[in-house]
Amino acid sequence: MTHQEKDYHDIPGTYVFDGSHFRKGYHLNMFCMSLNKQENRDKFRHDEEAYLAQYPLTDEQRKAILERNWLEMLRLGGNIYYTFKLAIFDGMTMQAAGAAMSNTDMTEEDFKQMMISGGRSIDGNRSKKETK
């Protein structure tokens, strides 16, 4: 199937959770969703790989989860509200996750400072045409 070009694909650093992302990421996201339950959190904590075996994930998805590669999870169909459940499981803050997804050497502290100074600027971040 050909990948249909959408106008929002031009937004840099943004993974719009549309039907194509949904299809890629369904099982990854449903694994994350399962962590809403304490008994599942306990099982996952006990043996991550065994727990993940219940879900028909791709090898890439499994690897991204085990390595906590937050950006890669998004690329593989993850939705932030789902993947953040795994971050909560790890005791991570949204700022730490934000720094990790920035794909730079940004630390959690750097990210917090960026927010306090007014956040990531829209200027230069509207369009891929603008960034390149």
């Binding site: 959190r41 509200y81 996750a97 960026m114």
Partner: protein
């Protein structure tokens, strides 16, 4: 007769709930935020709506990718706080308003808004944080609540225009309910924020302020704003602001702005709070 008397717009950032629950509201980071909320708290304490219709979104708590409803209305007598991974927030159980909720549901569906009717729905920060912002930490929430859940996670979200028209239909529904009931409607979520990707942390305060100006005085100007414009200008999660258009649609064409407050940042978000009243109140 029931009446929609006012609208409240507020972001529903989970960290605000955590600050309330863990007594951090007087810390330097939080103090200006909670001070900024005071006039809205005072206003609602004086206004005392009987029922608050809270337009919010679920964050993979009650619903999941198994099924996505564009618009869902909660008709149950009560809604429990959801476990979002930290254990449920220790806030009062949310009391529903089943009779009015069913009246609204029937009216909306006859009006061609095909609502999903929900009886079992644990409610997450999307609903409980706005209540904490407006009411603080009471033993019991002092109003009944009708949760109205909107899909803002799965693209495509409903259009702003559809949201605005749903607001109008909600008003019509409320105002055909025979019992004397004061109803306030909350639009929650937004303003600009992006939680995901390399662009995480995006804020566009200038766009938000203009959007708020228009929401109050000229909602017709923003009701056709495209999904891509929201995603681009206000961040991937900024599109939640369409829920404020439901609130705005339920009010008069000309409204009185009772209070407006914005603060940047709250967590990763440009926080917004707005109180609007119908002119004849």
């Amino acid at each position: 007769m029931a009446k929609v008397i006012a609208g409240v717009g507020t972001s529903h950032i989970p960290a605000i709930g955590a600050a309330v629950d863990h007594n951090k509201t007087q810390e330097a980071y939080w103090k200006p935020v909670f001070e900024g909320m005071e006039p809205a708290k005072k206003w609602i304490e004086e206004t005392k709506p009987d029922v608050c219709i809270v337009v919010f979104n679920d964050h993979a708590s009650a619903f999941s990718l198994e099924a996505t409803s564009t618009f869902a209305i909660g008709v149950a007598p009560e809604f429990q706080p959801a476990d979002e991974g930290y254990g449920p927030r220790k806030v009062p159980v949310v009391k529903g308003s089943p009779e009015l909720a069913w009246h609204i549901t029937e009216s909306l569906i006859m009006d061609e808004f095909d609502m999903t009717i929900v009886n079992e729905m644990p409610v997450d920060h999307g609903l409980t944080v706005p209540l904490s912002i407006m009411y603080g930490q009471p033993e019991e929430w002092p109003c009944e609540v009708i949760p109205l859940c909107v899909n803002v996670i799965q693209y495509p979200q409903p259009t702003g225009n559809r949201c605005f028209n749903l607001g109008k239909a909600i008003r019509k529904a409320v105002e055909s309910y025979p019992k004397d009931t004061k109803v306030a409607i909350f639009g929650t979520g937004g303003l600009s924020h992006q939680l995901q990707g390399e662009r995480a942390g995006l804020i566009n305060a200038e766009y938000d302020e203009q959007w708020l100006d228009d929401l109050v005085a000229a909602p017709e100007k923003i009701k056709h704003t495209s999904h891509t414009e929201y995603l681009r200008e206000t961040g991937s999660e900024g599109i939640e602001a369409i829920m404020w258009l439901i609130m705005r649609g339920a009010l008069d064409e000309d409204v009185k702005q009772v209070y407006r407050f914005t603060h940047c940042p709250v967590s990763n978000t440009h926080y917004g709070l707005l109180v609007l009243e119908n002119q004849d109140e």
